[in-house]
């Protein structure tokens, strides 16, 4: 299909210093868990986006020296020739697809604890990091400043050698150059502190030196948080923010603009729950609007809508559309816009699961919408290519159209199985996403710090995308509103049966902390509910509500937020140190805390219930069980644990003779029905089974490539040898 002229502007090339960016789609630096030590993952993840049409792809933050070491979080590194060699894999692959390669040269200062290198980070003033735990920098005198600036230069030279086209001096997210610029970090009284020019000096000098070293060959970029969002005590766009851009405009070929810092970087990588598309516009949009720069500007805002992209460029907000998460969710976004395949665009849902893995430190990235993110190299998965299954003459019955079932049916459809029937008991497909996406709206008031509780509505895109794809697949039939009995499944006529029947919430208070039900917990009573009953408004909810949250992710707190928003007096109890622990990793925690606080939710941590009686919950302190507390309540919501709905699977499995008689050759259990998990993992589970349905033992995941040091001499082949699945990416 031809490109709609409306989108032509997104495909116009633009000059960045000595380089030409072929279109306006730019993958800004973001973490993936690869760094320089998993060069295959790095090269193939970035390369996939280049193949999908992105004009430039950048590394994640890239340490210039062992003193900038964020272990266990994974950064890239360009410390030595080995790193040059490894990162070249990435630049080669990007160049193969016509994309520019960017490297974000990073020195973290006290935000990088150096737990691997054991080095001592340096900083402008000796103030402990507001992000890390108890990490102080060593005060930088002039020698230190010269040394660190030389690190940037040496790193830039290595970067050029590695083939990078765009070289950043990275000061956003409150890393070193920003620490000099901002009085929040910089209390110096020498020429590097005090006045604006003094505070800007370090950054400007670094840019100058890097430019001197490599500026003829490479474009020099700078990532800058134009507003720290802390008011006058730090950088504000209307004051030093715009001024800094003007001040260093001569030294920069490309401005990459953000807001905020690393301590609350959810203000930049805004989760959809609290931030809408293009949410940074009020800040980053001021730079071009106020004519503060003559250079091209790239900015982000979780923009997924092609019409928004066009409007951003046409209105002069940015010159280039920056994206991290939308590029993870759909590496082929640019191609799909070009080809007019809007219905194939897989939109980011803003869940920040990708980010959570980096925050945890160590694991490879994941993506709820794109199960192939992070698997491009180690499993050879391509988001758009699906090897026809060797056993595609078989027909498949998938029972349950939640995230796992939908994904599995879709992949099997794309792998050309002769017939795939996806059968769902509910009237609509989507499973738990249908009710979960109704949570998060709070009381609908917009009075939080920069944002409002928008709800989890964008998570519905999980269903939207799969619904459209399933509809397009001619070999896939979707039948909703049909609950199959064991007998009906046996007689269905499928050779492969995949059970994806989801899970339910425990009704007796069974939980991970005590491994036992809670006396008096009984969600069959009309004054006790499970979270889904809250959303479906199945029961009347009294004024005083106690929500017991033992799951550590969004469910309990979202229910508390909903009920408090509706005017109930809510008490939230958790045995953990913190409510919704996992939401720290998804960057949703700060805004959530602000909202719960505003709504007057009473939070009790390190607290567990030992008995529930009508009108009162008996609680105790986890550290000193003798320490009791009573909560007088009208309603109790039990968000303690989930239990797989695997009865159908167990019944089917029990009668092997019958399975054989009916011609059922394969019986599998996926998603929450196998073990309750996060949605991102259910999607993955369904995807993997689909990709490996023709392996000798599909229920057991095939080995994947582990990028680790193999003793003795090795070649790339030694690693490829580990891949047992047929790769849909050309992994040569």
């Amino acid at each position: 299909m031809a490109r709609d002229p409306k989108y032509d502007i997104l495909f116009e090339p633009i000059q960045i210093g000595p380089k030409t960016l072929k279109n306006r789609f730019y993958q800004v630096p973001h973490c993936i868990g690869a760094g320089s030590e998993k060069p295959g993952m790095q090269a193939y993840h970035r390369g996939m986006k280049a193949e999908g049409g992105w004009g430039a792809c950048c590394t994640e933050y890239c340490s210039i020296h062992p003193e900038s070491d964020d272990t266990s979080r994974v950064s890239a590194r360009i410390w030595d020739e080995g790193d040059v060699r490894n990162l070249s894999a990435m630049t080669d692959r990007l160049h193969q697809f016509g994309a520019l390669a960017g490297i974000e040269l990073w020195y973290g200062g006290p935000h990088a604890p150096c737990m691997e290198s054991r080095a001592t980070p340096r900083g402008p003033s000796q103030i402990a990091s507001d992000f890390e735990l108890n990490i102080f920098p060593r005060y930088m005198d002039q020698d230190d400043i010269d040394t660190v600036q030389q690190m940037y230069v040496d790193a830039a030279i290595r970067a050029r050698e590695a083939g990078f086209d765009i070289i950043y001096v990275y000061g956003a997210h409150a890393y070193l150059p920003f620490q000099f610029l901002s009085p929040f970090y910089n209390r110096r009284t020498d020429k590097y502190g005090g006045s604006f020019e003094n505070r800007a000096r370090f950054w400007r000098e670094s840019l100058y030196k890097v430019r001197e070293a490599v500026g003829d060959d490479c474009a020099i970029a700078s990532r800058f948080a134009v507003d720290h969002l802390l008011g006058p005590i730090s950088i504000q766009v209307g004051e030093d923010g715009a001024r800094f851009v003007e001040y260093c405009d001569d030294l920069v070929d490309l401005w990459d603009l953000t807001v905020g810092d690393i301590a609350e970087w959810g203000q930049n990588a805004g989760p959809s729950r609290f931030f809408e598309e293009n949410h940074e516009k009020p800040f980053t949009g001021q730079i071009k609007a106020g004519n503060h720069t003559n250079k091209p500007v790239v900015g982000v805002g979780r923009v997924t809508n092609p019409d928004t992209m066009v409007a951003i460029i046409k209105s002069g907000q940015f010159d280039i559309i920056g994206a991290a998460r939308p590029s993870i969710s759909d590496p082929f976004l640019p191609k799909k816009i070009e080809e007019g395949r809007f219905d194939d665009i897989r939109e980011c849902i803003g869940c920040n699961q990708c980010i959570s893995r980096w925050e945890i430190g160590g694991p490879p990235m994941v993506c709820t919408q794109n199960a192939t993110a992070g698997e491009e190299y180690r499993r050879g998965w391509h988001p758009e290519n699906f090897h026809p299954a060797a056993n595609r003459d078989k027909s498949v019955l998938v029972i349950g159209a939640g995230p796992a079932g939908m994904e599995c049916a879709m992949v099997l459809g794309k792998r050309q199985m002769s017939a795939v029937h996806l059968v769902e008991a509910d009237k609509e497909i989507g499973g738990c996403v249908n009710w979960i996406s109704q949570l998060g709206h709070s009381d609908g008031k917009e009075n939080l710090f920069r944002g409002s509780a928008r709800g989890l509505g964008e998570w519905k895109r999980i269903v939207n995308y799969r619904q459209i794809q399933l509809d397009k697949l001619k070999n896939v039939e979707v039948h909703a509103g049909s609950r199959l009995s064991t007998e009906q499944v046996l007689e269905y006529g499928a050779e492969i049966v995949i059970v994806a029947t989801g899970c339910h919430f425990a009704t007796d208070g069974m939980n991970a902390a005590t491994h036992a039900p809670i006396p008096g917990a009984d969600a069959s009573l009309d004054w006790q509910l499970t979270p889904d009953q809250v959303v479906s408004e199945a029961k009347r909810i009294g004024n005083r509500v106690l929500v017991l949250e033992n799951e550590a992710y969004f469910m309990g707190v979202s229910v508390a937020q909903k009920l408090a928003g509706e005017g109930h007096d809510v008490t939230l109890v958790t045995q953990a140190a913190e409510i919704a622990n996992y939401m720290d990793y998804t960057l949703e925690a700060p805004m959530l805390h602000r909202d719960l606080d505003r709504l007057g939710v009473h939070i009790h941590t390190y607290t567990m219930l030992e008995k529930i009686e009508p009108g009162v919950c008996h609680a105790y302190d986890v550290w000193n069980p003798a320490h009791k507390q009573q909560f007088e309540v009208d309603t109790v919501v039990l968000c303690t644990a989930r239990i797989s709905d695997d009865a159908l699977f167990r019944e089917l499995k029990a009668d092997k003779a019958r399975l054989e008689a009916e011609g059922i050759e394969g019986l599998y259990l996926i998603g929450d029905a196998s073990a309750p998990r996060m949605i991102v993992d259910s999607v993955f589970d369904g995807h993997r089974l689909g990709r490996e349905i023709d392996s000798p033992h599909p229920e057991m995941p095939l080995p994947f490539i582990r990028e680790r040091r193999l003793w003795g001499e090795t070649t790339n082949e030694d690693y490829l040898h580990e891949l047992k699945n047929t790769a849909d990416v050309a992994l040569a």
């Binding site: 809007f342 609509e428 519905k460 459209i468």
Partner: protein
């Protein structure tokens, strides 16, 4: 055979507007058809409508008394067959309505007439020609009726203007047709349809709202407006994402594809995924404060004006 016979339609004692639209349609080809335009009305109380049918261009009103209180498909079929037989028109026009679905094709089939349904334009070069949609209105088809001395067309309502009354009066004549025992169905009763789940794909008139409505609290106002207007309320995705409205009301690629007669888009910019769901509506009217809004690219009528000011005026006018 010459001249045009228009079949009027009534329902529960009221003349339906399509009857006079048919007169306008007929007038366009009156001369080549042979110059005589008669309008027929069938029913127990047919003469009652003679005056209302005396529009400009009508030469004669024919009333046919029917022995049934309400419309009955077989009676109407026989009556029309008789009229065609006695009046010998070259062209017969009926509205494309639920009633005519019950008899017009049967009349055409049995009498071997030229026939087309749901036509949106009629012309006459050497012979009558008609235009109608094809592939669900994605294309337009030109039809001919070779070798047919008489052609029966059912005409899409709302396309032709309603003909206005004539200056003077128009002669009316009752035509006696024996219709006893012709009925083959028995009317039991009328009932109002239950509310049921909303199905926006079935609605003829959608009033659709988007982010331009600004606040969730404004929704009741638009629900009210839709009801006054006789429209069904539908929405674009942002309102569903925000949890303001259920997805059953969503128009668009990930919602429903609709093809109503009228799609009134208020405060919808027209993201490509939304347009995919409504671009084939018969008539699209868009109101948006942004003159660049993509919805104007598919709309038939547009207005760049403050949404709430227009809503104020609509509310008043529809009081």
């Amino acid at each position: 055979m010459s001249g045009i016979l228009v079949l009027a339609e009534t329902r529960r004692g009221e003349l339906r507007e399509v009857s006079l639209e048919l007169v306008s349609a007929a007038r366009e080809v009156k001369d080549p058809a042979g110059g005589r335009l008669a309008v027929a009305v069938i029913g127990a109380d047919a003469e009652r409508f003679a005056g209302d049918l005396a529009a400009g261009g009508v030469d004669e009103v024919l009333t046919v008394a029917a022995p049934v209180a309400d419309f009955e498909a077989h009676v109407w079929q026989r009556a029309l067959e008789s009229l065609i037989d006695s009046e010998q028109p070259a062209l017969v026009l009926a509205g494309h309505t639920i009633d005519s679905l019950g008899f017009a094709p049967a009349v055409a089939a049995r009498a071997g007439l030229g026939f087309a349904s749901d036509v949106t334009a009629i012309s006459w070069a050497d012979a009558v020609r008609a235009r109608r949609g094809a592939y669900g209105d994605k294309l337009q088809a030109e039809l001919e009726f070779p070798g047919k001395a008489c052609t029966l067309l059912t005409v899409r309502p709302g396309i032709f203007p309603v003909a206005s009354p004539a200056g003077g009066s128009v002669p009316a004549r009752s035509v006696a047709i024996d219709l006893d025992g012709v009925a083959r169905t028995e009317h039991v009763e009328f009932v109002e349809a239950g509310a049921g789940d909303v199905d926006i794909t079935k609605a003829d008139f959608l009033l659709s709202i988007g982010r331009g409505i600004e606040d969730k609290d404004n929704i009741p106002r638009f629900e009210d407006l839709a009801e006054r207007f006789g429209a069904t309320l539908s929405v674009s995705r942002p309102l569903v994402d925000a949890g303001w409205m259920p997805s059953a009301r969503q128009v668009g690629q990930s919602g429903k594809t609709v093809k109503p007669r009228v799609y009134l888009a208020l405060g919808i910019s027209g993201a490509v995924q939304h347009l995919a769901g409504m671009r084939n509506a018969d008539t699209i009217i868009a109101v948006n404060t942004d003159p660049e809004a993509p919805i104007f690219g598919v709309a038939h009528y547009g207005a760049v004006v403050d949404l709430f000011e227009v809503v104020d005026e609509l509310e008043q006018a529809l009081e």
